[in-house]
C-alpha cells in the first residue's frame, strides 16, 4: 500500500515564512532518531518532513511546521491569535509556566487554528504543539476549538484538527475539564450540519483531548507510532503493575483495536487528506 501511495506523492514546498524559521531555529546540527539511533541532519529531516529516512520514525512537528506542511502555500490565515490564558485559580507557578512556554515556542497557546486550503479545498485547520505545556487543554484551547468549529459551520467547510496533548490543563482546574464538554457540544452542532470533520492523531494524544474532540471526528487518522489513549501508560503501569503489551497505546495498537480509521505515513498524508476531501466535496476546487 505504502509503496503505491509513494508513487503518487508530490513534493510539498515549504515556504520560508518568519514563523516557520522561528520554529526550526536549530537548522544546523544533527538529531538522533529515537527509534533507529541514526543521526539525521536537520536539513535532511526538514526535506523529509521530519520523518527519519532510515526507519520512518515520525519526529514531532511544531504547530507551524504542521500548518506549513498541510496547508497550500501562503493560504493559512490564523484565527484568534490574541487569545491568552489567565491564571484564574491563582494556581502557584502557572504564570511562570505560561511565560516560559510562550518564550520557548513563540506561540501564545498550544493550539493554532485558522483557515486555509488543502489541495485547493477550503478547510478550517487546527494544529497543536506539544512543546507548549504538553499541549494541555485549558480555557484557551477549548475556546479556540469551539470558534474554529463555529467558523467551519458558518462557512460550511470541512474541519481538520491535528491533535497532540497530554490532557487537561490541571492549572485551570475544573474550567479545563469542562472544555471537554464544551468542545463536544459545538461538535454535536457541527455534525448536525452534515459537515466533514477529520482528526489526525499525532504523538501523543491522550487524556481530555483524546476523550473529547480528538475522538469525535467522522474520520480518524493517526501518524505511525503515535501514542494514543486515555490514561497515560505510566498511570496504567502504576495501577495494574503488569507488563504492558509491546505496542500498547501506539497508533498501530489502536488501529488493531478498532479506534482509528487509518494510519497514514506523513509522506503520503497530504495526498490522503486531499483524496478524502475530494471524495466528500466532489471534483477539485468544486
Amino acid at each position: 500500500m505504502l509503496k503505491s501511495a509513494f508513487g503518487k506523492q508530490k513534493l510539498i514546498p515549504i515556504p520560508d515564512s518568519r514563523e516557520y524559521m522561528q520554529s526550526t531555529e536549530k537548522d544546523v546540527g544533527r538529531e538522533k532518531c529515537p527509534s533507529c539511533s541514526r543521526r539525521v541532519s536537520e536539513l535532511e529531516l526538514k526535506e523529509n518532513h521530519k520523518v527519519c529516512p532510515e526507519c520512518q520514525y515520525h519526529f514531532s512537528m511544531t504547530a507551524w511546521e504542521r500548518i506549513h506542511f498541510m496547508a497550500d502555500p501562503d493560504t493559512f490565515q490564523e484565527f484568534n491569535s490574541d487569545l491568552r490564558s489567565i491564571n484564574i485559580l491563582d494556581f502557584p507557578g502557572y504564570d511562570e509556566k505560561l511565560e516560559s512556554a510562550m518564550k520557548q515556542t513563540g506561540l501564545k497557546e498550544a493550539l493554532v487554528t485558522g483557515q486555509c486550503t488543502i489541495g485547493g479545498y477550503p478547510v478550517i485547520l487546527g494544529t497543536m504543539d506539544s512543546r507548549f505545556m504538553m499541549a494541555s487543554m485549558g480555557s484557551v484551547a477549548g475556546e479556540k476549538v469551539c470558534r474554529a468549529v463555529e467558523k467551519a459551520i458558518d462557512l460550511k467547510i470541512p474541519l481538520i484538527l491535528c491533535t497532540a496533548s497530554g490532557g487537561a490543563r490541571m492549572q485551570e482546574g475544573m474550567l479545563s475539564l469542562m472544555q471537554m464538554a464544551k468542545t463536544s457540544a459545538v461538535l454535536d452542532r457541527f455534525h448536525q450540519q452534515g459537515l466533514l470533520y477529520m482528526t489526525l492523531l499525532t504523538n501523543p494524544t491522550t487524556g481530555g483531548v483524546s476523550a473529547s474532540f480528538a475522538s469525535l471526528a467522522d474520520i480518524i487518522l493517526a501518524e505511525p507510532g503515535a501514542l494514543i489513549g486515555f490514561a497515560g501508560p505510566r498511570v496504567i503501569k502504576q495501577t495494574i503493575s503488569e507488563i504492558l503489551p509491546a505496542d500498547f497505546q501506539k497508533a498501530e495498537f489502536m488501529l488493531k483495536h478498532g479506534m482509528v480509521d487509518k494510519i497514514v505515513n506523513r509522506l503520503v498524508l497530504k495526498d490522503t487528506v486531499e483524496s478524502l476531501l475530494r471524495l466528500h466535496l466532489g471534483g477539485k476546487n468544486g
Partner: protein
Amino acid sequence: MVKRHFDYEEKYKNLQGKFEELQELSKNLQFDLTNEFKLMEKKMKDIRDNKYQNLTAWEKILLSRHQERPTVRDYIEFIFDDWIEMHGDRCYGDDRAVIGGIASLKGIPVTVLGHQKGRGTNENLHTNFGMPHPEGYRKVERLILQAEKFKRPVLTLIDTPGAYPGVGAEERGQAGAIAQVLMTLCSLKVPIISAVTGEGGSGGALALAVCDRLLMLSNSVFSVASAEACASIIWKDAGRAEEMASALKLTAQDIKDLGIADEIIEEPMGGAHKDFETMAKKLEESLVSNLKELLALESHELNEQRYKRLRQIGRFQEN
C-alpha cells in the same frame, strides 16, 4: 505524610467519651457541675460545628471518599419508586461500576444513571471501586438514547475516582467511549440533572455530568484530576496532595463560584452518612424542584440553554 482518612469524628468521639466519663464520675462523687458541663457541652458542639463549616479542601476529599458514605445505589433505592435496573452495552459487557435503569420520581418516569462504589473490599472488587470501563460509558450512551426516545428526563448521580486506567479499558476505547457520551448528552432533547454525591473525579465523572443543572452535596468534590495525581505530575511530589487540593478549587463552593455547579445541597453535620435519610430527602427535593422547572421548557429551549451553559465555560484574555 498526607492524611488518608478523615478521622475527626473518631477523635471527637474519644473526647466525648472522656467527657461522659467525667460526668459519670462527678455524679458518683456528688460534685454538682451541671452548669459547667452544659457550658462545656455547648462549647464542644460549637467547636465541632465550626470545624464542619470550615473543612479544608483535602478534608472534604477525604469525606467524599469516606467508606461509610452512602453509595449511589443507596440514594436510588431510597429516592425512586419502581426502580428497574437495566444492564449491558449490547456490545461487550455489563459494567458494574456504572448502574442505570428506569424509575419513577414522584410519578414522573425518569432514566437514572450513576457511578457505583462499593462498601468494603468485596463490594469494591465487584464494582471496581466505581471506576468504569468503556462498556460502562456505552451502557450510559444506550440508556440515555433510550431515555430520549421515550421522552424521559435523565438523572445522573456522580461518585467516582475516575475512569479506570487499565489495559482492557484502553483496548476497548475508553477515550472514545467517554467522548461519545459527552456529545450525546449535549444533543439530548430531554432534561438532564446531575448530582455529585461523592467524588467527582476527572473525565470519568464528567461523562455523567453534562447537564442542565449540576447539584453538589456540600462535602462532595469535583476535580480535573485527583489531587494526588496533580501533585505528583505538577510538583513531582504526591506528598503535597493536601496543598494541591486547595490549589485545584475542587470543593462544591469552588465549583459553584466558577459557575459550573448550580446548587449546593447542605449535608448533615458530620457528612451525608451521619443522617442518610435526611440527606436523601434533601437530594430528592432538589431533584424534584429542578426537574419541575426544566419540564416547563420546550425541548429545543432546553437544548439551547444547555448549549449556552456549556459554551460559555472558560476564562481567558483576548487582545
